[in-house]
Symmetry: C2
Subunit: 637 residues, 2 copies
């Protein structure tokens, strides 16, 4: 499922299990169990996972400065029980006695069976930051700085300028581009060989005169179809310095991804234009966060970015047409290395861009980032992740196994084809309560209501179903029944033309057409949308052999998820029926994932693990989809 080689951390042969001859044991799950001493923490990971990664994902800190490239030789652990063959780099780090005692470099020690691993006390206290959904992320950004005071060359020491720098970078072994080499010699000499090396992952991206180690920044982008969010991060502290968001300037080409793809199919210049527009959006955000954070753009040495597959294709100028039609094929799951400047960004000229990989045409890097931020693939609990939107992404699983799918819910949750629908803006009804006597509304901005947004729609339908004005098939009950059973509400159930509607607010008059109302057709729109999502998680549950009561937690992701009432979501059957406190709004997990990737190379390695481990289930074309969809159209009893 993954592309040729995950970006910025290629699967090297060493990753494939250097020195390991035995095939991986298969206990049916392909997972192995690791216990870390002295604290006893246990974790299950896929066979072949480096011990270092398994520890990192679980917040267990092991010394390391090189980021797992085997160059710093600091990640010493002892295998107390279980087998890890001596790897090619181990003899350079350990004596023969130590090797016999089980000492190994954790970054190169792949767990191919159950292990007990002793972790020595840390030499340095690792910094960490809280990010994502309660994730404790040990800071190890791709961007590293090293202050170097070098010996000047002599006739006895004619090492190349580059080699002199590399030799001083004891724990890192970066490459240097031609562009870097162009100025290398003059910078070294102008600064009298007193410089700070800026290394991003495996690339030497700059030499700066003097000691600049205190200044080190990255920007994490969440590239949404509607909104783009940029977070400027101080990589020394792991803390956000500035956050800004902005509407995606691709909007004039259509509100959703399909319209934008259509634009590229009809106009040969549209792909370039769309690319430029998103670059402009991001560039303006760069300027804003740098200005707000008092950071020079050149001090931003990396960007990370997640987005849905279409957004990523458009940002990179890759033809998105195949994404829009069956069989929905992506150009690649893992994107090749690109620089921030290839995305039109004026940060450091050699700053790389880390792009989240995608699982499928409609389960993109934003969802992979969300899974990373929630720790879905590493948590023991069975959790259901739903990002509700026009295209809704659903993932279900735990550290044992995770399935994911995409459900084409349509625009109902954005209230786009709802008669009185509007965006979540001032004047939008976002919450609805029905009582015997009337209707109470939550309106954004405490203004008189002018329309209804997605969460208000869900609330309204849920309340109507709950009280019985809507039956379980989604039809308004007959007028006579309404008058009999709900005298205080029945006059709100009326007609506009031939269509039955329920008036939420009369807006001071008596004309239903001037009111804010919910129509029978609106209810049908929502039914189709929620049935699509419910079919998605039902199919995942069936595939995983679990029932709703097995689910420990439901994570509602995205901005819509933040406003959705868990009670209403259960009442309309959008989510399985579980105890309400277990239904959690997870917020902008995609953006959190992008931040986490900027803070830790270990975590971005995990993004590629997600790509390899999570199984994508395609809904369209399934023979059982229509049957299940019809079942899910009704509201729960």
């Amino acid at each position: 499922m993954s592309g040729p080689s995950p970006q910025r951390r290629p699967l090297s042969l060493a990753d494939a299990g250097a020195g390991a001859v035995d095939p991986a044991p298969d206990d049916g799950t392909g997972r192995v169990r690791l216990r870390f001493l002295p604290d006893g923490a246990e974790v299950r990971v896929p066979s072949g996972t480096p011990v270092f990664d398994a520890a990192s994902w679980n917040g267990i800190a092991i010394d390391s400065t090189c980021g797992g490239h085997g160059t710093c030789k600091k990640c010493r652990v002892r295998i107390v029980s279980g087998e890890v063959p001596v790897g090619p780099l181990d003899p350079r780090a350990f004596s023969a006695d130590e090797l016999r005692e089980g000492w190994r470099l954790a970054c190169r020690a792949n767990a191919r069976g159950d292990l007990v691993v002793e972790v020595p006390p840390l030499q340095t206290r690792p910094k960490a930051a809280l990010a994502g959904v309660g994730r404790h992320v040990i800071l190890r950004p791709a961007v590293q700085k090293r202050h170097l005071v070098l010996e000047e060359p002599t006739m006895e020491d004619q090492r190349s300028d580059l080699q002199r720098v590399l030799d001083a970078l004891e724990d890192l072994e970066p490459h240097a581009s031609v562009e870097m080499l162009r100025s290398l010699g003059s910078v070294l000499r102008a600064s009298h060989f007193n410089v700070t090396a800026v290394v991003c992952d495996q690339e030497l991206i700059d030499l700066e005169p003097g000691d600049t180690t205190a200044r080190r920044f990255a920007i994490a982008f969440d590239l949404g179809t509607t909104t783009v969010v940029a977070t400027l991060l101080d990589l020394e502290s792991g803390q956000p310095v500035a956050v800004r968001s902005m509407l995606n300037r691709q909007q004039p080409y259509g509100a959703d991804v399909i319209t934008r793809i259509s634009a590229t199919m009809m106009d040969p210049d549209a792909l370039d234009a769309l690319r430029e527009r998103v670059h402009e959006t991001m560039a303006e955000l760069v300027a804003e966060v740098c200005s707000e954070g008092d950071v020079a753009p050149r001090e931003v040495y990396e960007i990370t970015m997640c987005g849905n597959v279409t957004m990523m294709h458009l940002a990179l100028g890759i033809d998105p047409e195949p994404l829009s039609m069956a069989p929905f094929v992506v150009s690649t799951h893992s994107f090749p290395e690109v620089l921030a400047r290839d995305l039109g960004l004026s940060v450091h000229p050699r700053a790389p861009a880390f792009l989240f990989p995608s699982l499928g045409a409609y389960v993109g890097g934003d969802i992979v980032a969300g899974m990373l931020a929630t720790g879905l693939t590493r948590d023991r609990r069975l959790r259901l992740f739903i990002d509700v939107g026009t295209n809704s992404e659903i993932a279900l699983g735990s550290h044992e196994r995770v399935l994911a799918t995409a459900a084409p819910a349509g625009p109902a949750f954005e209230a786009a084809q709802i008669r009185c629908g509007m965006r979540a803006a001032p004047g939008a009804i976002e919450g609805v309560k029905l009582s015997e006597d009337g209707v109470s509304l939550d309106v954004i901005g405490d203004e008189p209501p002018v329309g209804i947004c997605g969460s208000g729609l869900v609330d309204a339908v849920a309340e109507l179903v709950h009280c019985g004005l809507l039956d379980h098939s989604g039809r308004f009950i007959p007028d006579e029944d309404a008058h009999r059973r709900f005298p205080g509400l029945a006059d709100r159930l009326t007609k506009i033309g031939q269509e039955r509607v329920f008036v939420l607010d009369w807006r001071g008059g008596q004309d239903p057409e001037r009111s804010v109302f919910l129509s029978q057709r609106d209810v049908r729109e929502l039914q189709f949308a929620k049935a699509s999502i419910a079919t998605g998680w039902s199919i995942l549950m069936a595939s995983l052999g679990v029932a709703p009561e097995d689910v420990s937690q439901i994570l509602l992701a995205g901005s819509f998820g933040a406003y959705l009432s868990p009670l209403s979501a259960v009442r309309i059957g959008l989510v399985p029926k579980i105890a309400l406190p277990r239904i959690v709004s997870a917020g902008n997990v995609a953006g959190e994932g992008a931040k986490i990737a900027a803070l830790s190379v270990r975590e971005r390695a995990e993004a590629y693990s997600i790509l390899r481990e999570v199984e994508y289930v395609e809904l369209s074309g399934r023979s059982d989809f229509n049957d299940m969809f019809v079942d899910q159209l009704a509201f729960p009893g």
Copy 2:
């Protein structure tokens, strides 16, 4: 001594000896001995060399299609005697029984001790080409093509477009750039998934509609300070299709590298201008060879290039200033990956450029290419390699050990500061014979002589020393001695002003000033030049503990070497005194090396071995240099 990581074939951890725990055995030379069965050929290589490379360098063919990346699993050999630990990829290629019997993948089997290796008969007859100095090069260009007829995607088979291509490339695992991905989907669909993949080393550089496997070209450049040579190669046959040469358009900035570096120091725009000039020169050669060979520039998928360090720095736009002054430090020995288009060349837009690495500021990629073409580091014979020029490069050694140095000979061999000196052009005296009665001259173009070129200068001085008109200290003998001993020649020994001269040709008159003559100062210029070179090889011989009689062969490289008379070279002491048939003009070995690199990735790996193995000896600053130089000023007795 090498840069961070050799270009296009990074030293991966697997190269460092995957699975090998034992330290390399040290027999004093760091070399190990391999014997190949069934033919019994033996070779000594540095410990750690892959068995495949050791075989390739010696013309022993082992099946392989992937170029040593461990992906094709065809390079099966059996270790009959000696130890090679099972590597990480071996269990994927062999059964447990086969592993026990000693079967290994040759490209991953590093020889860390003496081995006997059984090579199975070839499945396919490998193509080979003769190149360099009698080298038999097995064709395995970096550029490969594969015709693919792919299954079209379906809902059941939603592999990404890239993965579909990669899966079909069974033996190769290339990466794809964003630029490649931009058109991937549309090319696949427009050609109905019937395409030819163009892979260069580890990069998928194009998908072409239909089957284009018969067309595959590269251009090898020899980038000289004076002349640039381009050879268009058909990679299917290994044969040159067209060769063109042209004066380097950097000429107006100075005839030699030091003048050109000075230009960059005095004018901030000169570096860019020099870069553009060499790019223009190369671009024009591309147009010429493609036109002559009837090859579309887009069918040229790679270029290879060698040149001296200054030329390479200027072509890449790297500040050359540190090269021009002590301690003569290069920016890097191994250049990073660049594309042909970065060098201003309109060949395939994603064609990479393979750039030969350099040993030192004055032993550049041209000399590394020359060593490759002559097989200096792999031949059993002790050989002396001399590239005579303003800066003369000297290497001495065999498969046991090779030393190299650079000798600043000055421009005498280009006849630049010689009173009647001229380039080797029509009218230049290129050969001189003295007899008792007179002088016989070889003149280029059989025209009346107008001057003397380098080889004529060497010949003239050698003859004068041999007959005795010049004494061993380099002084013309007194007139009276000349008249007594050489009555037929003595009137040619005359004076211009205060300076004694020997007239080579009177040019129809009797005025020495209008004749073509050799002055006492000219002789001194040549003495300084030859002493510099002789000091170089003397120091190398002393360092290696060998005497002139131990040298099996002297290789005179470069265009000057082609015209130099071996007898004269011995007589003036430019080369050690050995039997004349052992002094060989090797021709343009740099250009041959560039061609070899285009024909075989194994050979370019060898270029990096040269970088690691050859020991660079710096002459300037040596305390014994001046002493030895003075010793070498005299002509041999």
